[in-house]
Subunit: 170 residues, 2 copies
Amino acid sequence: MENSKLKEQVKAEFTAYLTLHKHRKTPERYAVLDHIYSIKGHFDMESLLNSMLESNFRVSRATLYNTMELLLCCNLVVRHQFGANVAQYERAYGNENHDHLICQRCGKIKEYKNNNPAFTTSQKKYLQRFQISYYSMYIYGICSKCIAAHKTEDRKLKKSKNNNTQIKKK
Amino acid sequence: MENSKLKEQVKAEFTAYLTLHKHRKTPERYAVLDHIYSIKGHFDMESLLNSMLESNFRVSRATLYNTMELLLCCNLVVRHQFGANVAQYERAYGNENHDHLICQRCGKIKEYKNNNPAFTTSQKKYLQRFQISYYSMYIYGICSKCIAAHKTEDRKLKKSKNNNTQIKKK
DNA sequence: ATGTATGCAAACCATTTGCAATGAC
DNA sequence: GTCATTGCAAATGGTTTGCATACAT
């Protein structure tokens, strides 16, 4: 697959980071990186662990968290916390920055490739003293499916309201 | 203070929500709302609880979480999860949407009032089937202070490469 | 040879949950 | 009088930590 080229690049990037910071280049670390770059979308620790175990690479949770910390530091991975309890991760290298549409009702997350320049000139000016490594845009709302479902529900509610006891609004 | 007018508005908003959804209008719920709208910036559950206890209003954590859920639902409060473990909250009504600059080194969060229109026309077109209630823009990077500190540190590092203790967690 | 990284299991701690008592309706 | 809501305490579960062992350098 042509994914292998990307994997080579991130591996080189990771190696550079490890060398610079005098961290050891363990097989576990490279295996974690490789697995992450085999995943396209979001993932959490549990699924990453399972995916690695399934392909017969044994890692501990501790190592996974440890490695993830390093990958976050060198911006090869990005962490999200969409409302829920578990952190979601996502590979960051060669991954166009995109917004996230998060449905507050069903919790589904849709990616939205925003083609606009990330920051306007005036923003850049303001931000020049802040060294940006990446940004995350989370757009919360109700997805079209849930809007439809909600309308149906409302209709039912109105019916039952009319049939049953009702609270008079002054 | 002229904050009281705002408080009246959100109280009315909350009442409407509670009525619509047939939830009870308990003193606890209104007290929580009132306290939240006395806080200007971000806060977490612990500090909110303490603040309430200090002003002699006893609430349980359970009620706090419960009420917060309602306030999130009716968009009177927004929840953030900036990297860390604890969720941060922020009042949402009458609060201009702003971006968050999050320093990956010191963890400090700076608000950045973005004066640009939230969405371009092309974005709006794409998003028209998604009912936006609010959005959060998180910009991660290194703040100017930390950049300076880092430079100094680097200089020291070059002099004596003994400094291995980097970011030790408490 | 040295000390970092791993794996395991226990600890941590914000959040959630179960249940009896309370109080809004 | 009902039953949603509260408060308390215990449970949950993702993440972190301590420590003995393994292994990168």
